[in-house]
Amino acid sequence: MLNKKTAVGLFTTFALVMASHSILAKTQEKLSAQARGLEISKEAKSRDIGWVDNTSDMTMRLRNKQGQESIREIKTKTLELLDDGDKSLTIFNKPRDVKGTSFLSFSHAVGNDDQWLYLPSLKRVKRISSRNKSGPFMGSEFSFEDLSSFEIEKYNYNYLGDEVVNDLDSFMVEQFPVDENSGYTRRIVWLDKAEYRVQKIDFYDRKNALLKTLSYSNYKQYLDKYWRADSAEMINHQSGKSTELQWQNYTFKTGLVDGDFNKNTLKRAR
């Protein structure tokens, strides 16, 4: 016969075992959500490697709360590097007062990017600090980090579940920036299950309040493999401003090489 003491002891043991089971289960669940989030992101990245290089023209349409608009025209040339971040040249055409200004960037998966700016009126090449990830790009609702290439090492991941976005069954993955200079605590990214294309991103500011939503539309496939959206819209929920992006003239494997990305090419980029 069990005495009272033994009964209490057994019960306690039972309770402890049950509790640790549930903690263990939760931990396992969390770990598997992290692993699943990473897995989805890796799959998305792996579907978008091997394009070698590309060039495109981008138009930005900035809108303020009152509906006033301002246009930016930008040309980009990007060289894919498999062992590091990409190299890119960005050339500004509009607004007219910054025409001819160009920007050279050697991005790195880990650590700060190397960036140079060419100012045509002074004929001056300036190395600039790449710490400014959270600042607005040309007065738009896009920050520098929003426009940089996606690298696995830049985030920690968490799979949140599935949802239908743009009529497409999608994964919902939470991404936590590793870089302490990021302007965000987290992003929630919706990737469609069929092609792993980013359909939508919610950005949460440093106070973890919803700041912006980015929506991609009109995806087209290039070289029978790579998907690129024709347009995207970033809406700032806090300021009421928005920026619309449109891409034209997407070209891949144009023959760009490492030698097309240096201070000399920066100075004569058009």
Binding site: L62, N64, Q68, S70, I71, K94, P95, R96, D97, V98, K99, G100, N112, D114, L122, K123, R124, V125, K126, R127, I128, S129, R131, N132, S134, G135, P136, M138, G139, N181, G183, V257, G259, N262, K263, N264, T265, R268, R270
Partner: protein, 409 residues
């Protein structure tokens, strides 16, 4: 030197290219540029005889014509410039800022014609920047340059970029005329110019520069041999019957230069130094400092940059026997506020002071885009000195505000 003489080598280069590639067809032509109106208002009446009173207006025009062909590997740029000033006949002037041909191959480039080349990293003084002559009538900051005729070969290697320059022909500095403000008591005579070299303004100058980026460092180093861009100004004795003026003398110089910037997180550390040797004097000078940027200052989208620089020159302040250097023991503070808004609003405040005596200059520059193509800027400059030997002393009545409206096309 006439324009025809200046563009002759360019035409030769163009001719050679058209022989090498008979089917030259301009694949792309682009016309852009700016036109502007500028109004200066001086806080005090003029100090010297003949100077304009308080208000000075001018207009300027700077179109840029660009042609490219051969998939952009060959291009020609033509950028003429003209400013009309309502009072100052010297400030009403034209220049060919650029008329050059560029041929770009995979790892080398040939650039021939009239061009501008900038070297250096610091903000308050451009010590190492030596290729182009200063267009001194444009503004007091010395950042406007006259086009320089050159033949420039540039090689890109794993260990850096090497630039070789042949510079035929020299441009004399432009100086404010007798009607203009922002000058000393004596006008610099643009016709009374002498040279050390018997070739005068046709001396063939030479420069070689190496530059490279290594990790956080951007380094450049060069040797320049040729006509000194800084004239020696002295009281004219040749025409005693005319009112006294300053004559310009350009000697020959050899100069070694080094510029280094370290870009470490939010800090830019900057250093420039030159060693110049001429028949008259040898000296070295340096400018060093930093720029720190607060990103997203006060929880806004704005960036606030803080700049501190120090300038030193071995010639010191100058005395009866030597003109010395205007920046020889001077400290500079600046603050740049970029609002990062749709109109790219910016404000820069700068303060320079001589450490040894009370002379200082203050500048405030603010600019903003209006609509898509108009830019308006407002500059305010205050200069003060209690030391008659200081260069700023002669400008102490020339505090002014300058409003510029520019239209870009």
């Amino acid at each position: 030197m006439s324009i025809v003489k200046k563009i002759k080598p360019l035409l030769v280069a163009l001719a050679i290219n058209s022989i090498v590639q008979p089917q030259v067809n301009a694949d792309e032509f682009e016309l852009s540029g700016k036109v502007g109106y500028e109004q200066r208002y001086f806080a005090e009446e003029s100090q010297y005889q003949n100077q304009l009173s308080r208000s000075q207006a001018s207009i300027f025009f700077e179109p840029e014509l660009y042609w490219e062909w051969d998939e952009g590997n060959s291009s020609v740029t033509f950028k003429p410039y003209y400013r009309y000033d309502e009072f100052d006949a010297e400030r009403s002037h034209g220049d060919i800022r650029e008329l050059s041909y560029v041929y770009a191959s995979r790892d080398w480039e040939l650039r021939a014609g009239i061009r501008k080349e900038f070297w250096g990293v610091t903000e308050f003084q451009h010590l190492v920047d030596v290729i182009n002559q200063t267009d001194g009538v444009e503004d007091t900051d010395g950042e406007d340059k006259l086009g320089q005729l050159m033949l420039n070969l540039s090689f890109v290697r794993d260990w850096g970029i090497v630039d070789l320059y042949l510079l035929p022909g020299f441009r004399e500095r432009t100086f404010v005329g007798k009607e203009g403000r922002l000058r000393g008591p004596l006008v610099v005579d643009s016709k009374n110019v002498s040279y050390q070299s018997s070739a005068e303004d046709k001396h063939l100058d030479f420069a070689a520069r190496w530059s490279h980026s290594i990790g956080v460092f951007d380094i450049g180093s060069y040797w320049f041999h040729g006509t000194n861009r800084d004239p020696i100004l002295s009281l004219s004795t040749t025409e005693p019957d005319r009112s006294p003026s300053l004559q310009q003398h350009y000697n020959q110089m050899d100069q070694l230069g080094l510029d280094v910037q370290a870009t470490i997180d939010d800090w830019l550390w900057k250093f420039e130094t030159i060693y110049r040797t001429t028949d008259d004097e040898d000296f070295w000078a340096a400018q060093a400092g930093f720029e720190y940027t607060y990103v997203g200052v006060f929880d806004t989208n704005a960036d606030l940059g803080l700049l501190v620089e120090y300038g030193w020159d071995s010639r010191g302040e100058g005395d009866k026997n030597s003109s010395g250097a205007s920046i020889q023991n001077d400290i500079f503070f600046g603050s740049r506020l970029a609002f990062n808004d749709m109109q790219s609003s910016e404000m820069l405040v700068g303060f320079g002071a001589d450490v040894e005596h009370s002379a200082f200059s203050f500048i405030m520059e603010a600019n903003r885009r209006f609509g898509e193509s108009v830019k308006i800027s407002l500059d305010i400059r205050v200069m003060q000195s209690s030391e008659p030997s200081d260069a700023l002393y002669s400008l102490k009545s020339d505090d002014h505000a300058q409003l510029a409206i520019e239209y870009y096309f």
